[in-house]
Symmetry: C2
């Protein structure tokens, strides 16, 4: 059985192709009677419109790209995908995930994007762009919405959490608990600056200074490579803890860039027979599931909702409307759990 085409349906319903097209897409100017006839004919012929043919004829692809930084199987990226999918799918849009791992891939991605005509819009998450890239964004010729991008330049709309404010509240928590020396532990920061990892690092620096910590009271320790395999994470964490504990007078307040990373550091700390909050305080960032299972104090964000919001902005832009809020900054709120408490005596 060859596939039914729109003209088969037209013939079966006794109307023209154009009317079938209008009826099936819920367009106006179709009488209820004809619409019913057409729908029935389509149903009995087991027919739906071909997305590719529609795309070719209309110019709309009904697809939106989701470009994430790094692998798709992290809690954050997967949750954003879920959130985007949730609002796009009911509207008939496909969500096409993509990711790049280095600057070269990113450049090629942006170069091919506009001419491929394979998507109507793009959502870009967690990228740290230099100005050259902002120009590329504008040249894309389609709506571009940013998610947790440090700058709004080049984006038609964006949503993100207020990293700076969140980290400030974290720093202030540690200070109010009496921690005289504090540390920030973070992932590897690649030189080509594709990833957005440095926003929180910078935020910690300034927050600590503002809270009155001197340069000697702050220690920043980053991973020295970018191998994210679980096994390597433990090794990385071990190295970080070694550096942490070998400070002349080691920090007792620790903030981590993400919950996953913090969990590894925390684990190594326990392996050294140190306990939180007895011997130190430690807090993560994200409120990922692992922070719950560890009762880790953290800063809450909801990537599913960020994805929802980004997708809604895309939809508005695609309709030619302005999003309710063009550039939105939502707070990440402190969640107190069991790993933070008063600084140990004498520190």
């Amino acid at each position: 059985m060859a596939r039914a085409t729109i003209s088969d349906v037209a013939a079966a319903a006794g109307v023209s192709q154009a009317t079938v097209s209008r009826a099936l897409r819920g367009s106006a100017n179709v009488s209820p009677a004809t619409r019913a006839k057409v729908e029935q004919a389509a149903e009995s012929l087991n027919f739906t419109l071909s997305k590719s043919a529609s795309t070719l004829a209309s110019g709309r692809t009904m697809r939106v790209l989701l470009l994430v930084s790094g692998p798709l199987n992290t809690w954050f990226n997967a949750s954003v995908l879920q959130g985007v999918y949730d609002v796009l799918a009911p509207e008939g849009y496909d969500t096409i995930p993509a990711f790049v791992t280095n600057r070269e891939q990113l450049d090629r991605f942006f170069r091919d994007l506009p001419r491929d005509r394979n998507a109507d819009a793009i959502i870009i998450t967690s990228f740290e762009f230099d100005t050259a890239l902002h120009d590329q964004l504008s040249a894309l010729g389609m709506p571009v919405v940013g998610l947790n991008s440090p700058s709004t330049a080049g984006f038609d709309a964006s949503i993100g959490i207020d990293n700076a404010a969140a980290i400030t509240s974290g720093v202030q928590l540690l200070r109010s608990l009496g921690h005289r020396r504090i540390a920030f532990v973070h992932d590897y920061i690649p030189h080509d600056m594709v990833y957005g990892t440095s926003t929180r690092v910078a935020a910690f620096r300034t927050a600590a200074a503002q809270a009155g910590y001197g340069d000697d009271d702050i220690v920043m320790i980053g991973a020295d490579h970018h191998d994210t395999t679980p096994a390597m994470l433990d090794v990385t964490a071990a190295g970080i803890v070694a550096r942490l504990l070998s400070c002349e007078q080691h920090p007792t307040g620790i903030m981590g860039e993400t919950d996953e990373f913090t969990a590894a550091v925390y684990k190594e700390l326990r392996r050294q027979h140190l306990a939180a909050p007895r011997d130190f305080s430690i807090m993560g960032f994200d409120d990922a599931p692992v922070s719950r299972t560890l009762d880790l104090t953290t800063l809450h964000q909801n990537p599913v909702e960020l994805g929802n919001a980004a997708a809604r902005k895309v939809l508005a832009l695609l309709r030619g409307e302005a999003p309710e809020q063009t550039h939105e900054l939502v707070p990440a709120t402190l969640v107190l759990r069991e790993t933070t408490g008063r600084a140990p005596n004498g520190r």
Copy 2:
């Protein structure tokens, strides 16, 4: 600047459209000289082939659907997606994720799939199908590959882990450690049987029986609802632990259906001042990152590699070849960590 079309390139290169098409797709029968001319013309006009137009003309969409059971933001599903993407993207295929949460959505999905002509193949993960669905699969009219599906019926190819063998090895571990009574804790099993959650439950039952456990020595405890939010997970786990500990003589060997679920149960157990492996042994399934952070004994599987393999089978099928192995069953291997040990005395 209007977009360049294939005929613009043809004109610029001084050849016909047909030749441009052949040259740009790396087809045979194009002289190196013309190919170079064409490529250069395309480059200078900033041209690439339109996927939609190609699809319409050729019938190939260069897209494959990935249907997962449940949300995309679980470790397993996100990892499968990553694995599929990794092998499909270099070949020029888009990976389109989709998921359904109940039987009705699933039926509609399958009904619309063949007539939408929006994908060349489909990968289906972790679904428990009844026979009616197997027929629908065959009627899809495109390659269908299964991933961790309990049966191979209806699939053109499949890959999955050997749940039964893995669970048997887990049960035997507990028995060899001296646990006289054992329990299996698992997620909610919906009545419409869309999810594949029952495979491991059934496997545990038979493995326990074969290992010599009597009916009174086995306790199965499932969640009584399907709310997977992190906060509810803790509540669910609390209920399960309550039931576990209020048994006449409670089991000391516990297996969980997944690491995530097991982690929640384990946490509640610790909250009751019970410690593993001192008071009980507990093991998970999957070797998800959380099992590492908890040093949880578990059964290892690698969903990224499963995704890779499934995608490779799709590619083979699409080329009209037979996959290297049509139906593949890979072992899930026991990973001994810190939460299992000899049964407490007197039990």
